[in-house]
């Protein structure tokens, strides 16, 4: 498949990257590993005039460990993060989610910043230009219909990051750098809730780091996919227990992860959240698995992780 034409720049500083973006505004895109972006350009889902490669920026490929935070540069690969001793020992939900992301070769290329900022996916959207033109453009392509749900007034594309739900249960924050300065916000605040435009960050803003509070946690991540060797989640569930407080995040159904809180002392929290999550998720027929199956599996995955955690207790 052939890429559309664009200019390529590799700035050495974030400041320069922001300036380059401003020079092209809507027609510029940032590139890290490219495992999400390059296929999107090939399918003409995005037609940038300028690709700004952030891999040349010093410091974005580092993992720093202080007493209170694990500070992960956006350009750290999933493979490197997965093999970090603190992630392996203290953040099992994140570790499991990294291991479950795609395949080893793509983990070595894909980055944590890119994984979190990947675009939403739909069976009727991630298609070639020809296919989409023949079918007619949907909301996410700037059209006026949803090709997955007849008569729908909104987009239902799924946010298919494995790592974001895990990071949310660990209370991760993101550091954003824009032309107006820096800010640090909870990871869950970057989502707009809309499937067609999933992120609420400002145009041109760069996620430079992801920060996780350093605490010993227990937890896990499970996902449903068609090919175990390498596939996007069709539903993913992350659970973490931090100092007696628990969090469950459900990913890959709808435009943003959903999350639930519980206390470790609550008897039967797994059953309760499984029931509530199953009730609240609204999967539609936009993946290769049926909505009914994904809905049912949401609760089952919650219960499986709850059971694993209670067995660890014994």
């Amino acid at each position: 498949m052939i890429l559309s034409e664009f200019e390529y720049r590799r700035p050495k500083t974030i400041k320069k990257a922001l300036q380059l973006y401003q020079s092209k505004t809507e027609d510029a895109v940032y590139l890290l590993g490219g495992t999400d972006l390059i296929p999107r350009i090939k399918e003409r889902l995005v037609k940038p005039a300028l690709v700004i490669d952030l891999k040349g920026i010093a410091g974005l490929d580092k993992i720093e460990h202080s007493r209170s935070w694990l500070k992960i540069g956006a350009n750290v690969t999933l493979y490197e993060l997965r093999n970090h001793p603190l992630v392996r020992d203290a953040f099992p939900a994140l570790h499991d989610s990294l291991e479950a992301t795609s395949c080893e070769t793509l983990q070595m290329r894909g980055t944590i910043g890119g994984n979190v900022l990947q675009d939403t996916r739909c069976l009727f959207y991630n298609k070639s230009d020809e296919w989409r033109k023949a079918k007619g453009f949907c909301f996410k392509m700037g059209g006026q219909v949803c090709n997955a749900v007849k008569g729908a007034k909104t987009c239902f594309a799924n946010y298919a990051s494995d790592n974001a739900p895990a990071l949310i249960t660990l209370h991760a924050e993101v550091k954003l750098v824009g032309i107006d300065g820096e800010r640090q916000i909870p990871l869950e605040a970057i989502f707009s809730g809309k499937s067609d435009l999933p992120f609420a960050i400002k145009s041109g803003e760069i996620i430079s780091h992801i920060l996780i509070p350093v605490k010993n946690t227990r937890g896990g991540y499970l996902k449903i996919r068609v090919r175990d060797s390498m596939d996007y989640p069709l539903v993913g569930v992350a659970v973490s227990l931090v100092n007696g407080k628990g969090g469950v995040a459900i990913g890959a159904i709808g435009g943003k992860p959903l999350w639930f809180d519980f206390s470790e002392n609550e008897v039967g929290w797994g059953e309760r959240i499984a029931r509530e999550a199953t009730d609240i998720v609204r999967p539609v027929a936009n993946t290769v698995l049926s909505p009914a199956y994904r809905k049912k599996m949401t609760g089952i995955l919650v219960k499986r992780i709850a059971r694993k955690l209670s067995e660890e207790d014994r």
């Binding site: 390529y8 690709v51 080893e104 793509l106």
Partner: protein, 158 residues
């Protein structure tokens, strides 16, 4: 559009060429350097048939922009044999019959080579996990796993 000057190393040889800014490494290797060992199948990073080694890391060359490899070292399947002698992985693939149509083979071998370079004597489950990055539609993987295991043993002896 203005072309970009690119200096990088391919299979030990220094290359200096001009590429389009929107050219993939796969296109540069196949169409400019006539190294057709890396194959294009899906073109979207799903199958692994275009895998090459960038420095020491296996990458999908269809997802890498050529300007990104400035100053770096690329190894393709053509660069594995030394002085006319095949790499132990290449020999093992022949010996075990791990090749049928051959389209996935160069990607399989390079993914396996990167594994053997970073890990001495990997377990069978590690081999399975690593080569599951690559899709083969003929062999059912059994012979490929055997070949990588044999090559790992051979490389440990030598």
């Amino acid at each position: 559009m203005k072309r970009i000057k690119l200096n990088f190393t391919v299979n030990g040889e220094k290359i200096s060429i001009e590429v389009k800014p929107y050219e993939t490494l796969l296109e540069t290797l196949r169409e400019r350097l006539c190294l057709t060992g890396a194959k294009e199948a899906c073109g979207l990073g799903a199958c692994g048939s275009c895998t090459v080694i960038l420095d020491s890391v296996p990458v999908r060359s269809c997802l890498v922009l050529s300007p990104e490899v400035e100053g770096r070292e690329v190894t393709t399947v053509e660069g594995l044999s030394k002085d006319g002698a095949l790499h132990p992985l290449q020999e093992a693939f022949m010996e075990k019959g791990a090749v049928q149509c051959g389209f996935c083979t160069s990607g399989m071998i390079l993914t396996a080579k990167a594994l053997l370079d970073r890990q001495n004597k990997p377990s069978k489950s590690q081999i399975v996990k690593t080569i599951s990055s690559n899709v083969c539609r003929c062999t059912g993987y059994k012979k490929i796993i055997e070949a990588v295991t044999t090559a790992a043993e051979k490389m440990e002896v030598t």
